[in-house]
């Protein structure tokens, strides 16, 4: 009989360690509380970046200057990008759900290095604050775009150095989190949990962690080189100093393309957990999904050049990178086929997590297919640096990672807070989000194909219809965000008490009370079956 059944269960939220109150949270080494610290910070920074996004949409509602000048707009899209990419999209899923659920899903009491975990959080916080401050202090908001392309970034008089330092510090946090997860999965799996008995969300974190550890140092060094170029006038990238700007693009994208997989792989892992639970049958193609994660992580290393077709790279390189870009679509497609096959013939219960997970597939596939347009050299050159790229990118990152995050939030909310949210509000929020998202971003494909450049605060009158529709979509989307977050925040304290296993899930996190205890398990479980074991069905054999 579990402690919760005997009434003696003390959840991690009630547990009092060495320090109490606020200090107990700020100095905690409990992986679950650290996950929540990330969650709260990321929500705050997300709304900051989302408001910047809405302000940009308002500016674009009509040609010419509407509410801000060109330089302010440049700062807006730069900080919007830096916060969204480096503070939210890259760290969010591993830092929040990875921290909270990885140890539980592998039957461990914590991550391998709890203090390092807390240190990673503070590095993250310092980096995030630096990023936001760069908008407001000194010489004005950085105006380089989140990609910091040289030679402009080594010459701009704005706060580029602050933004570079922010990205550098955030990278360190990411590396340490990745390292922690790799060691945790190698050393702390429960007895009987061989590699092929590990659930697929931890597997996706494993593939992600290797990218974090191996690719992030490259961008860290690259950003330091830009700082060195600005401060010490060492000619790495600026042609005026004898450097090569294309080298910067190589080094930047060697990290930043794999970073897209840091963003999306954990999202794929989350929906991979949701589909079996809400179909009440084992995941279809466990091994194929597992190896497709590793394949995406590996092949994703070698496709960075597709960001540089127009930068002056050689014809041979364009061919090489284009070929590999098409190749990386294969493991992504394998996942989609397996998710759909999992649903096929299942006992499907359409609840908010599944709704978000299915939306993820829909939006990710639109992003994926338009990615083929950008992966092909001939078509990419036509739409390079247009709103088409903005639409594609947001379909992958927001439609993919964002909706996977919402799916995960609705899936694991009862386990994290021990409360249920309001289903009706969740459906309404989803309706606004899904509608708003498509109304906002789909017109960008069209005006992009028509020639609307990205990062311009002004445009020709023929693009206005598309821009107005997009702005309306932006407000619908923002309304959906408020409904969804309001529903979750309100019910985190006041919702109905959640049972231990409201969705009839079979992975380890659903076998312990909601919310979990400080050490997760009274006794470390022994694993003697596959991770998605729904009884002795034919799929399990």
């Amino acid at each position: 009989m579990s402690n919760s059944e005997t009434g003696t269960h003390v959840s991690y939220l009630e547990h009092e360690g060495k320090y109490k109150g606020l200090l107990g949270w700020l100095l905690t080494t409990d992986h679950k509380k650290i996950g929540l610290l990330y969650l709260y910070c990321i929500i705050v920074f997300f709304f900051v970046a989302a408001i910047l996004g809405i302000l940009m949409r308002v500016e674009l509602i009509a040609p010419g200057q509407t509410i801000m000048g060109a330089q302010t707009y440049n700062g807006m899209f730069t900080i919007h990008g830096i916060i969204m990419i480096f503070v939210i999209v890259i760290p969010a899923l591993p830092a929040i759900f990875g921290n909270f659920f990885l140890p539980i899903m592998i039957g461990a009491k914590d991550v391998a290095f709890p203090k390092l975990n807390l240190f990673s959080f503070y590095l993250f916080l310092i980096g995030a604050i630096f990023g936001v401050l760069s908008q407001f202090i000194g010489g004005g908001a950085p105006d380089t775009g989140w990609t910091f392309y040289v030679p402009y970034s080594s010459q701009s008089s704005t706060n580029v150095i602050y933004a570079l330092i922010a990205a550098f510090i955030l990278g360190f946090s990411s590396i340490l989190t990745g390292l922690n997860f790799i060691v945790t999965m190698h050393r702390m799996r429960a007895p009987g949990m061989g590699w092929f008995r590990m659930p697929l969300f931890p597997w996706s974190l494993y593939a992600t962690a290797w990218i974090q550890v191996l690719a992030t140092p490259i961008v860290g060094i690259t950003l330091l080189m830009v700082i060195a170029e600005r401060v010490l006038k060492i000619g790495f990238f600026d042609p005026a100093l004898g450097g090569d700007p294309v080298l910067f693009q190589h080094l930047f994208w060697i990290y930043s393309h794999p970073a897209v997989y840091i963003m999306i792989l954990p999202g794929m892992g989350i929906v991979t957990e949701i589909f079996p639970t809400f179909s009440q049958k084992p995941i279809f193609g466990y091994t194929a999904i597992l190896f497709s994660s590793l394949a995406i992580a590996f092949v994703g290393y070698f496709v960075w050049g597709h960001h540089m077709y127009t930068a002056g790279i050689s014809t041979g390189s364009r061919w090489f990178f284009s070929f590999l870009t098409f190749l990386v679509a294969v493991p992504s497609a394998i996942k989609v086929f397996n998710w759909v096959s999992t649903l096929y013939g299942g006992s499907i219960e359409m609840r908010p997590p599944l709704l978000y997970a299915i939306s993820f597939i829909f939006l990710f596939m639109i992003g994926g297919f338009t990615g083929l347009t950008l992966g092909s050299v001939a078509t990419d050159i036509q739409v390079h640096d247009t709103a088409f790229v903005v639409a594609h990118f947001h379909y992958i990152i927001f439609g993919g990672m964002g909706f996977a995050f919402f799916a995960g939030m609705h899936y694991w909310f009862p386990k994290i807070f021990g409360r249920m949210y309001n289903d009706k509000l969740a459906y309404i929020g989803w309706g606004f989000l899904f509608t708003g998202f498509n109304v906002l971003y789909f017109p960008q494909f069209i005006i992009g194909l028509q020639g609307m450049p990205r990062r311009y605060f002004d445009y020709l009158p023929q693009f206005q219809t598309g821009q107005v529709i997009s702005t309306i979509g932006g407000f619908i989307l923002f309304t959906g965000l408020i409904i969804m977050v309001g529903n979750l925040v309100y019910h985190a304290k006041r919702g109905a008490i959640a049972p231990a296993n409201p969705w009839k899930g079979v992975t380890l996190e659903w076998q312990i009370p909601s919310p979990p205890s400080h050490e997760n398990f009274d006794e470390i479980p022994e694993i003697n079956h596959a991770p998605y074991f729904f009884g002795n069905t034919s799929e399990n054999k």
Binding site: L214, L247, F302, G312, G316, S317
Partner: protein, 94 residues
């Protein structure tokens, strides 16, 4: 160490590694005096790789680790090597 065994390296082996590292540093500096064109970077990277391998094997005790760990670390080296080679091939093909 394998199965929790510990290994204590001798001062002599540390000293030898230190001398090797200093010699390779001296070599790196010396090579910059020669005009080798595109090979300057190649040679500099090769020397740096040998130095890194020496440190990882000896100071980080990887030479006493299991084959699995050695393969994982080799994989990382190969990955970085491929990334650098692909980048420089682009320069050669332009």
């Amino acid at each position: 160490m394998k199965n929790g065994d510990t290994h204590i390296s001798s001062f002599t082996s540390h000293a030898i590694v230190l001398i090797v590292l200093l010699a390779l540093t001296f070599l790196s500096v010396s090579v910059t005096g020669y005009q080798l064109g595109a090979f300057s970077v190649t040679i500099a990277l090769a020397i740096a790789s040998v130095k890194v391998a020496t440190v990882i094997l000896n100071f980080m005790h990887v030479k006493h680790e299991s084959l699995f760990i050695k393969l994982m670390i080799s994989g990382v080296f190969i990955l970085y090597a491929l990334v650098i080679i692909i980048t420089f091939i682009d320069y050669q093909l332009r």
